[in-house]
């Protein structure tokens, strides 16, 4: 692969060996010193609440061809969600030929094209196991190799065995790849423990971080419109009743569907949950203003104008027009 420079060829072999031995030594020492090999510890609650064995046998297996673990992993979780698609269809949609691989944003975006919402999960082993226990397979990204020579890889986690501390993956060409929590976590930690689950519109999985949930549904809304996203916003605020941004987004979807009263109600909820959410006060004020309720509009806009942040100026401007 590499053409060697003539100067290097002339170097005495002894020196060359010494150098590579040194590199190897440094390398092994650095591994032993770094704590990345330690056994991942699970929360006590994980042991108490989750079943000790889970295996989602109904997740189909598509072996990866060449470098196409991305399309294969997506096909498995999409098929599991009853989406009719094949690895061959997904390759032109998510694979980047010159990179011989698939990148994370496009993995999420491709699920969106099949009218499914991809939610990045919280990056902990506890959270991964919880999704599996809830019956949801998880696409995980690993670096199978070391940071210096990365081998990025997508696999689908389908089960675990708590007493044995093993995880079960559909990975590459292996239909049932079992590996220890320790080895898996070492490879997963190198992608900052990145993974995602997919859900139909109107479903929000348990345990997704509030911000990630809002981002995921908002991205879906941008592609498919507010009428397609509305069921998911409703499900989100039901699942996460203290998610102020969720109520804010719900109000925008209602508004676009000409359900102004519901939009207003959702904004009031948002400001109740988070009285510091300036953008919700601003929109509430603007809604009142459009309805000619000047006193209420002024009240809400005053709140927005007092809160420092990117929406303060807009609120001050709106107050001047009153």
């Amino acid at each position: 692969m590499f053409t060697r420079l003539p100067a290097k060829q002339m170097r005495p072999t002894r020196l060359k060996n010494a150098r590579s031995a040194g590199v190897l030594l440094c390398f092994i020492v650095s591994i032993l010193l770094s704590g990345c090999a330690s056994r991942p510890t699970l929360l006590e609650s994980t042991y108490q609440t989750l079943p000790s064995h889970v295996e989602l046998n109904d997740v189909p297996f598509h072996p990866q061809v060449e470098y196409q673990c991305g399309p294969a992993a997506l096909a498995m979780v999409l098929n599991h969600q009853e989406v009719d698609t094949k690895v061959e269809d997904l390759i032109p949609q998510v694979f980047i030929p010159e990179r011989s691989g698939s990148v994370q944003p496009e993995m999420l975006a491709t699920a969106r094209r099949y009218e499914r919402i991809a939610f990045p999960i919280r990056g902990t082993l506890d959270s991964l196991l919880t999704h599996l226990a809830n019956g949801t397979p998880v696409v995980v990204m690993q670096n199978l190799s070391l940071p210096a020579w990365p081998m990025w890889h997508y696999a689908v986690a389908i089960g675990y065995d708590l007493p044995k501390e093993t995880l079960i993956l559909r990975s590459g060409e292996i239909e049932r790849h079992t590996l220890s929590f320790r080895r898996f976590d070492a490879t997963w930690a190198r992608t900052e423990r990145w993974g995602f689950v997919i859900a139909s519109p109107g479903e929000v999985p348990v345990g997704i971080a509030p911000e990630q949930a809002v981002n995921a549904i908002s991205a879906y809304e941008a592609l498919h419109g507010s009428d397609a996203a509305l069921p998911s916003w409703k499900a989100l605020v039901q699942r996460q009743p203290d998610n102020a941004m969720g109520f804010f987004a719900l109000s925008n979807a209602y508004y676009e569907q000409n359900q102004t009263d519901n939009a207003q109600e959702a904004l009031i909820q948002a400001t109740h949950i988070d009285p510091e959410l300036g953008v919700a006060w601003l929109n509430l004020g603007l809604l009142y203003l459009a309805q000619g309720q000047t006193a209420k509009a002024q009240q809400a806009l005053n709140k927005a104008a007092q809160l420092p942040g990117p929406w303060q100026d807009r609120a001050v401007l709106a107050l001047k027009t009153l």
């Binding site: 090999a37 980047i96 944003p105 670096n143 190799s145 081998m151 997508y154 898996f184 991205a219």
Partner: protein, 128 residues
């Protein structure tokens, strides 16, 4: 020359995209949209739109240059959210691309064999 051509094509794509925008996109009440609130940017929404279009045009160029078929590239870029498009425009080169196990140099092979046995990596499942 190649860079100049690239800039011009990005600009042209952006202009075309801008031209195709529906005129009636603006809401009469001027409510802040969810995407705008999530970006939490002080910039005016028009300026934000233009940034967004440029980012998408840039991603489209990069994907085409990396061998993605011209028939597919538009739909792929359209499926990205604003923040994903920006992220890809800025750092596609540096982004990890999941590919699976690929051939390694011999020295690396030996090291990985050792780390596999130590349980640090998962390159050669036959080590177990």
């Amino acid at each position: 020359m190649a860079t100049l051509r690239r800039y011009i094509s990005v600009l042209l794509i952006a202009l075309l995209a801008l031209g195709s925008f529906p005129v009636a996109a603006a809401q009469t009440t001027g409510l802040v949209s969810t995407q705008a609130a999530l970006e939490a940017d002080n910039a005016s929404e028009e300026r934000e739109r233009i940034h967004d279009i440029l980012a998408r045009a840039d991603v489209q160029e990069q994907l085409l240059a990396q061998g993605v078929s011209p028939d597919e590239v538009k739909a792929r870029v359209a499926a990205l959210s604003d923040s994903e498009a920006k992220q890809m425009a800025e750092q596609l080169e540096a982004m990890p691309a999941g590919a699976g196990v690929i051939g390694a140099l011999f020295a690396v092979f030996v090291i990985l064999l050792v780390t596999d046995i130590l349980g640090l990596t998962d390159v050669y499942p036959f080590t177990r």
